[in-house]
Symmetry: C2
Subunit: 194 residues, 2 copies
DNA sequence: CCAATATTTCAGAAAATTCTGAAATTTCGG
DNA sequence: CCGAAATTTCAGAATTTTCTGAAATATTGG
């Protein structure tokens, strides 16, 4: 491995971290390297810096492309493929969340919907189905939130995140200001009192 | 594997899904089984239903305990260990997020902080450090948001998630209502115009 | 077109992980 | 305490994943 120490530390860490995700060491290292690099890199650059085989890099890049995590580009009068990550880190986050949802949540939701259609044949199955329904509803809530928030432009997203749970305070304020006292909606807070 | 079809479908799916996480098939299956089960199960129960070795179950349960994902309990006049998942699915989510943060984010933040202290020895290292700083700041924002939201009770958390980006609307409303026109704070929206 | 260059594919080697059975250790009722 | 029951440990077998080198395929400047 042929990298400045500071870069190497990061690349090695991401290689190890990859295993905690569904990603292998080389893929993690390639991504880390591209993320830190100012200039786009071609496959041979990556081979030299990471010290892995050309074919391994080829497969790694293919996987990263399948994840939409790298951008392929070309330099004038150079037929080699150059790869880079988006400059905007928020774009990276959005892609990551999107792709993980696609691979992990969506198939699970499909399965849950299927299983929830079936008729339980025993008390045991009935209970299992109830549990699956809880999970289904939870995922629905989370993905709904995500679908909503994902549309915000970055500035507003950051604003929202910075606010954190302080939003809650504003909600309470809103409730107090705009809900007609005695109406159905305003009873929520009363309920807490009991 | 000796399970009602509906349960088996879910257990097999979670087994496969486990690989996408850092968790192995058996651990995924054990967790799925416990999640669906009304009654706590002992190790031998799990062996029978999943058809894996006793030692494999032992190691799987140990791992799930390390993740705080299962609860160990005992039945009167039975010395065997019985395992279950929390009834409250939100408790499960909280634990999962907490543990993943502990294993993935925290070590990465430690590394980033260390590397950001060092003096870059070249333009390349300087750029790499800038990129790492972006990541560091991003994680700080996200974990800050999480730390904040994590404290909410479930009812309010659900409320917040249901609202999604509509929060934004309320924020704008708040701005319009309470910010003194011409003050520093009220200029945020003006900036967007240019 | 074609030859040089670039990239991908893929079979099998290497490495890592998962799983098992047997043995060791722990626990606790009597 | 003892011994039966329960659990854990662990060496190595089985399986899966990762990685490589060689060969095949694709691309493009001239």
């Amino acid at each position: 491995m042929n990298l400045p120490p500071l870069v190497q530390t990061f690349v090695l860490h991401f290689g190890e971290m990859g295993s905690r995700w569904g990603i292998n060491r080389t893929v993690g290292q390639i991504y880390a390297l591209l993320y830190l690099s100012k200039e786009p890199l071609n496959a041979e650059d990556i081979v030299e810096r990471l010290g892995v085989s050309r074919s391994n890099v080829s497969m790694g890049l293919k996987e990263l492309q399948a994840w939409n995590l790298v951008r392929l580009q070309h330099k004038p009068s150079d037929r080699r493929d150059y790869f880079s990550t988006p400059d905007d880190i928020w774009q990276i986050v959005r892609t990551l969340v999107e792709e993980r949802k696609k691979r992990e949540i969506d198939p699970t939701m499909t399965l849950l919907r299927e299983v929830l259609m079936q008729e339980p044949a025993s008390a045991e199955e009935r209970h299992a189905q109830d549990r699956m329904r809880e999970m289904h509803d939870l995922f629905e809530l989370l993905t709904g939130w995500y679908a909503d928030v994902q549309r915000l432009d970055t500035e507003r997203l950051v604003q929202l995140l910075t606010l954190g749970s302080k939003v809650q305070k504003i909600l309470e304020m809103k409730d107090r200001l705009f809900v007609v006292p005695g109406s159905k909606k305003s009873r929520r807070d009363d309920a807490k009192e009991k």
